[in-house]
């Protein structure tokens, strides 16, 4: 019986580690994407990954470490708040850019770089 509990205990922290590392990976990928991707909308897409996937995974990992405590409830509330607000913020920014007539980069990167800033019509 106690070995089962011990295994569960180890599994909990192992899983938490996996979640935290995964979250860290998505945050890092988002940061690299914001720096490297070619235009506004693709960069926004990268930033959105950081906000939703990265923070959700990190919060899940922290909740596993905290266990059944008040801290976990607070983390869950933070997660809910981020889960609702960050996609909304991304949407608002993209919508504003679209309304301001910022054209997305279509076609391959090189094609658009060559000359026409039409946005490419395929």
């Amino acid at each position: 019986m106690s070995t089962v509990l011990e295994i569960l205990h180890i599994a909990r922290f192992g899983l938490a580690g996996v979640f935290l590392l995964g979250g860290g990976f998505f945050v890092l990928a988002g940061a690299i994407g914001v720096l490297r991707l070619p235009d506004f909308y693709t960069r926004l897409h990268a930033a959105g990954v950081t906000d939703t996937m990265g923070s959700t995974l990190i919060l899940l990992g922290l909740m596993l470490i905290a266990g059944f405590t008040l801290l976990s409830v607070k983390l869950a509330l933070v997660g809910l708040f981020l889960f609702l607000t960050s996609p909304t913020a991304t949407h608002a920014v993209a919508n504003a850019a679209h309304k301001a007539k910022l054209k997305p980069l279509l076609g391959t990167y090189r094609q658009t770089r060559k000359g026409d800033n039409e946005g490419g019509s395929q």
């Binding site: 708040f81 609702l84 607000t85 909304t88 949407h91 608002a92 919508n95 504003a96």
Partner: protein, 348 residues
């Protein structure tokens, strides 16, 4: 001051150093940029990073205030101010550049000179770790029976200082009112104008923003009250709660229009509230005088138990702080926004 003490270079100190380096980089970026919009955003980033730094220094109450005021509401107010002026700063004239360079150089040199007199970080004999600070930490729990020592120091031992801060906030609000006007139209005129928040056409735009903010605004206000009344037990209090509740109203104004916000929270109420908060704070002090003790002495508020009196006093002045901070933030916001046409749907 203890000259022999050297700050240990452990993990926390290294994190502090990295955060300070980030602050330096953001500061340099702000100096180098001409785009005011980017500068305002970077100022928000600066506040967030310093909030992180304060958390790492275990000053969670200060970090909370910095995140709410510096990164949150002041960014919005700066954006409001920016809409009234141009979006890029003109390059300065060479003469002015050199003059300001020398002023900055002299100030920096003076500050660097002063740093040599500061105690090392974590020095057990430094001023905050000796004298009156230790006394507060020792006496706070028996005196007030409030677990969060920050609240008891802020509201009870240092009640005069906080009264001064609250008055400064009121003064700032008065200054904005005198320069930018009293927050626009009076109620009567407002009602005549059709408010379009129920308009089907307006509903069609920003549907996502409207739905999510409708869900969020009550939660934000609720959280503000939690921060207010939980301030005795954890980080938080009137300053943070006031800013959070004001930010809920500002969010409402950004999504549904300033007119709708003014209908929900009229400028007149906000103007009265700004003064009422300071009145509640000062009135608590007067109550102490009437009951036969010193100004801002809460021990006498409850004749049977001094700690309970302290709790009552702290709660009542925190409510005063909440009302003043929340109202002044809205006074400033209304002041800025009533100087320009509302952002129409077309401009989004």
């Amino acid at each position: 001051m203890n000259a022999d003490f050297i700050t240990p270079l452990d993990a926390f100190t290294i994190i502090d150093l990295i955060l300070m380096l980030m602050l330096l980089i953001v500061g340099l970026a702000i100096v180098r940029l001409n785009d005011i919009f980017a500068i305002v955003m970077l100022a928000g980033v600066y506040s967030l990073v310093s909030a992180l730094w304060f958390v790492s220094l275990d000053a969670v109450d200060v970090a909370f205030t910095e995140a709410a005021v510096g990164a949150g509401i002041s960014t919005v107010l700066m954006l409001g101010a920016m809409l009234l002026s141009s979006r890029t700063a003109l390059p300065a004239k060479p003469v002015r550049k050199w003059a300001s360079f020398f002023i900055v150089l002299a100030t920096g040199a003076a500050l660097m000179y002063a740093v040599t007199d500061m105690p090392s970080f974590g020095d057990p004999l430094s001023a905050p770790n000796a004298y009156v600070g230790l006394e507060y930490l020792k006496r706070s729990l028996p005196d007030t029976e409030i677990p969060n020592v920050v609240s008891s120091v802020l509201a009870s031992y240092r009640g005069y200082d906080t009264l001064g801060e609250t008055s400064v906030i009121l003064t700032a609000g008065l200054g904005v009112m005198l320069i930018l006007g009293m927050g626009g139209k009076i109620n009567g005129q407002l009602k005549k104008k059709a408010i379009d928040y129920d308009n089907a056409d307006a509903q069609a735009h920003h549907t996502v923003l409207r739905v999510v903010s409708k869900m969020m605004i009550p939660l934000i206000v609720l959280y503000g009250f939690y921060v207010q009344f939980h301030g005795d037990f954890g980080p938080g209090g009137g300053f943070q709660a006031g800013v959070i509740i004001a930010s809920a109203v500002i969010l409402y104004a950004l999504i549904f229009g300033v007119d709708a916000a003014k209908a929900a929270v009229p400028p007149l109420v906000v103007r009265i509230g700004a003064a009422l908060g300071v009145l509640i704070y000062g009135g608590t002090g007067i109550a102490g005088l009437i009951l036969g003790s010193n100004y801002l002495d809460y021990n006498v508020l409850d004749p049977h138990s001094a700690p309970h009196g302290q709790e009552l006093g702290i709660m009542s002045i925190e409510i005063g702080v909440l009302i003043t901070v929340c109202s002044v933030m809205l006074v400033i916001f209304y002041g800025f926004t009533s100087r320009q046409p509302d952002i129409t749907d077309k401009d989004w």
